[in-house]
Amino acid sequence: MSEFFLTTGKWLSFGLFIFFLPPLMVGVLTKCKARLQNRIGAPIFQPFYDLGKLWRKGETVSQTTSWIFRGTAAINFSVMLVISMLLPWLSFKPYFAHADLILVIYLFALTRFFSVLAALDAGSAFGGFGASREVTLAMLVEPAIMLCLASLGCLYSTTDLNTIFTYDRVCTATQSALWLLAGTGLFLSSLVELSRMPIDDPTTHLELTMIHEAMILENSGPNLALTEFTHYLKMAVMWGLSAQCFLHALCYFVTINEFGRSLASLIMLLVVLIIVALIEGTAVKLQWKKVPEFIAFAIAMSLLCVFVVIAKS
């Protein structure tokens, strides 16, 4: 019985993290960026206020849209929730059976499928631009994510993410190097997947250059709030995953207990956020034609992962 209560408690606290961590992360990120530019910046709880405001507002929907447009927000939000339960993006995530890495990657693809369709649904030119760019980036970045995760899986001969990301084993130097490479590859790909700098400037006001923002241009009110929250959650999940990879790489140097690990994974997430803020503060948005060259770095990382894994065993 106590086991049951423990699990329930774990899930409840994890649920709180799912709902409160992502907007907080975005708040911290914007705060960091503002401080880098010598501004005071908005309070770190600003994303909560923004989401709340949108949630209370009325909604305007284009006449040309079909059920796909309004359904997408609900579907993507739900699928992202499932992904956040499957993917070990925090070290204290409760156990969820069958966290298969191929399934997770294709669930991401499912959310992309619907968001691209929703962008095309209103029949706006900008939505179309965004959708076209989104599928292009996805095509380039998908092999990188797949190969990074697959080579980690090869290392431990399983596709189950719970087993791959478990901490109870000794880490050798090669394995630590592999974790570092995979973490870097995942981090670079996450910048592309989440349409952050230097691929896409999330704060720009020029719709012609946008990717994610152009796709959700027609959303408003609660629908937009849900879509935005889904995107925040995706951010948290993807950066959390690369933070976990870096933590595993660190395991070679220090061993820490479970509580320390939970704390360390939050700190690592913060470090990743600061790195993103640094990149966004200093990098310039790449020209669209130059984007494949940037993604080539991520793919190179993933190929290095493959080499390390094949050479090792």
Binding site: I102, D121, G123, S124, A125, L147
Partner: protein, 667 residues
């Protein structure tokens, strides 16, 4: 004439009666004419397919036996004999499901052709085509196989040409015929070599046929021409887009699978030492996978898009088969079983969802009189059910969970993964991981392709008047699509249980079986249930919100950054959607953009801006046209002999006589 028939066995009875029904249909098609002709023959088609389906179910219920049908009738060298076992019965199952679905939706679509073709000949060829498909699957020996294979090819050629008023149909039929001849030559060559090696025409005597490298390669390429592997896929785009309704889907869903069946039957069975063949199959599968998805993305014709995506899926099946061969070589029986099951499962799920998609595409053509994506758009409001079914079937093709395509693709990934972690050589393991990367790349391309198809065809605003006036399809077509879509969902979610049904088939091909239920612990059940609960609750929440008096849901024109009510011409088109990918792959696609600006001061005050994107098929321009030129030049030399002058011919005759006589004297 002697018959060796077990008339008591119910599956055989059912198969025979379905064959008889179709034969009667083929004969009647000469006689019957009238207004309801399409309905009548579609009913016959359905009846036969239904019986065949029952036969397949009955067979798998009493499984693990095989039936032989021998007759004293000889095709010159070998008797006409048929053999039914779990392997070809499975493919008969694909055939029957596809035909059942197609025959329901058929009459409405054929009405669209009205006077353009001769209904009698059309139905005659269709029945002959289907009968030859069945007989090809059931053939025991090489001679039977070749004869029915040829009948199949010829009837398909007739069917493609049946709408011969159009120039494009003629071109398609001719290019198909040329490719068929290449295929037959290769297959015949392979069969002859096998005959001289084994001294028998029976497939069952050809033990380890795949181990003889030369004929195995000939056979693989011969069959590959038919299932459209790279670089032989060029006939498909023409033939599949021009062929009338059910033929396109039948070619894509069944005829290609017959080639896959032959590959399994001849090259995978009893083949323990086929590593080179495995590499070849893997290489061609991978190239077809990428090539098909890349070219599908660029298509603006809906049916051509679907047929290019078939190339991609055949590539996937071939990867699974190559993997199976590789695993056999390594004696990893679990992996071999997994790979073979993946190939079979993917064949079935692809047939199912492709049929659904083709029914949808044909329906759109019948309603709007066009398949060109740049004239479609906004159909979602007019045909909501077709849209939903098309969506789910596309999800199955691009392997999104929870549809069936995901289950099979998951198994292929899992197989490659197991190879990468096995005791295989370094090269094999790295090949496996690289193919994993390529598959995910091609998967993302397929996603781009189908979001384009759905987005441009069904969503947004109508790009032409006909698309604006369209209405929902007939109930029967809708039912067929709905069955395909829901079946693929069920197959996908229940995959771990369905995988068990493939065991008897695997046992025929591989010497050792494996219980895949433990391997394929597909986690979909919980995931799907969980997401459905979430989706439901969120939808309820959203609707509650929009029902509040203050925050009503307002309908308004598309905002579009405040430009206001732009015309449909301002929308994203298929060409512009795929532009950013096409630009990256410009060298392969031969993609160019031509911009022409006219006017006095062109830079500041343009009067006319012309903008055009051009692609040219690399293979046809780079490989086939030069080859054809060389053949033409050579044949011109031969033509010089035939001048039409009777004197010259007499000289030829005289020389021949002298040569023959002198040879005779020598002997």
């Amino acid at each position: 004439m002697s018959f060796n028939l077990e008339l008591t066995s119910p599956p055989l009875m059912a198969i025979l009666s379905s064959l008889i029904i179709w034969t009667i249909g083929a004969l009647l098609s000469f006689v019957i004419k009238g207004r309801l002709i399409h309905q009548f023959f579609a009913a016959i088609l359905f009846a036969g397919a239904f019986l065949l389906g029952i036969a397949v179910v009955l067979f798998f219920q009493h499984n693990s036996f095989s039936l032989d049908f021998l007759s004293g009738f000889y095709f010159a060298l070998a008797p006409l004999s048929l053999h039914l076992d779990a392997l070809n019965c499975f493919f008969l199952g694909i055939l029957s499901v596809t035909i059942c679905l197609l025959s329901i939706s058929l009459p409405k679509y054929l009405h669209y052709y009205k006077e353009r073709f001769n209904a009698g000949i059309y139905w005659h060829c269709l029945f002959a085509f289907i009968l030859s498909l069945v007989f090809t699957l059931l053939s025991v020996n090489a001679i039977c196989f070749l004869i029915f294979w040829e009948i199949m090819s010829l009837t398909v050629m007739m069917l493609i040409a049946s709408d011969h008023i159009r120039q494009r149909a003629k071109h398609a039929a001719l290019s198909y015929l040329a490719m068929t001849i290449i295929s037959s030559v290769l297959i015949t060559g392979a069969f002859l070599i096998y005959y001289f090696h084994y001294k028998s025409w029976n497939f069952s005597d050809w033990t380890s046929a795949g181990s003889l490298l030369m004929p195995a390669l000939l056979l693989f390429f011969g069959l590959g021409v038919k299932c459209g592997i790279w670089p032989f896929q060029i006939w498909m785009a023409h033939a599949q887009s021009e062929a009338p309704a059910p033929v396109t889907a039948l070619m894509s869903a069944v005829m290609k699978k017959v080639s896959i069946y032959a590959i399994i039957r001849l090259l995978i069975i009893n083949n323990d030492s086929g590593v080179v063949l495995a590499y070849v199959i893997l290489a061609f599968g991978t190239v077809s996978l990428v090539w098909g998805s890349l070219f599908a993305l660029l298509e603006r014709d809906l049916k051509r898009l679907l047929s290019f995506s078939t190339v991609e899926n055949i590539g996937l099946i071939l990867i699974a088969l190559g993997l199976c061969l590789m695993a056999r070589h390594l004696h990893c029986w679990d992996l071999a079983n997994l790979a073979l099951t993946a190939a079979l499962f993917h064949s079935f799920s692809h047939a199912l969802s492709k049929t659904g998609l083709f029914i949808g595409a044909n329906g759109i053509e019948a309603v709007t009189y066009t398949r060109d994506l740049s004239f479609l758009g906004g159909l979602a409001g007019k045909m909501p059910w077709t849209t939903a079914c098309f969506l789910i079937n596309s999800m199955a093709i691009i392997a999104l969970p929870p549809a069936s395509g995901f289950a099979s693709k998951w198994m292929i990934y899992q197989g490659l993964f197991q190879l990468a972690t096995s005791h295989a050589q370094v090269v094999d393991r790295s090949i496996a991981l690289i193919i994993v990367g390529i598959m995910s790349f091609a998967g993302a391309l397929a996603l781009a392709c189908y979001t384009k198809a759905i987005g441009i065809c069904f969503l947004g605003r109508s790009r032409s008047d006909v698309a604006g006036r369209a209405g929902e399809l007939l109930k029967t077509s809708m039912a067929a699509q709905f069955v395909a879509a829901s079946a693929s969902l069920i197959l996908g979610v229940c995959a771990p249980y369905i995988v068990r049904l493939f065991q008897p088939v695997c046992l025929i091909v591989l010497p050792k079986g494996a219980d895949l239920h433990s391997v394929v612990a597909l986690p979909l059940f919980t995931t799907v249930l969980l997401s459905l609960i979430f989706v439901g609750s969120v939808l309820v929440l959203l609707n509650k919100l929009s029902l509040r008096p203050r925050a009503r849901l307002k309908k308004y024109i598309t905002w579009d950054c405040g430009y206001g009510d732009l015309p449909a011409r301002a929308e994203e088109t298929g060409a512009s959607f795929s532009e950013s990918i096409a630009r990256i792959f410009a060298p392969i696609l031969q993609y160019r953009m031509i911009t022409e600006i006219q006017g006095k001061d062109r830079r500041h005050f343009p009067e006319v801006i012309k903008f055009e994107t051009v692609t040219s098929p690399l293979l046809e321009e780079g490989l086939y046209r030069p080859t054809l030129k060389i053949i033409q030049i050579l044949s011109r030399g031969i033509a010089a002999l035939q001048t039409g002058s009777i004197h010259l011919y007499l000289v030829y005759v005289f020389i021949t006589l002298v040569v023959l006589v002198s040879i005779g004297i020598r002997l």
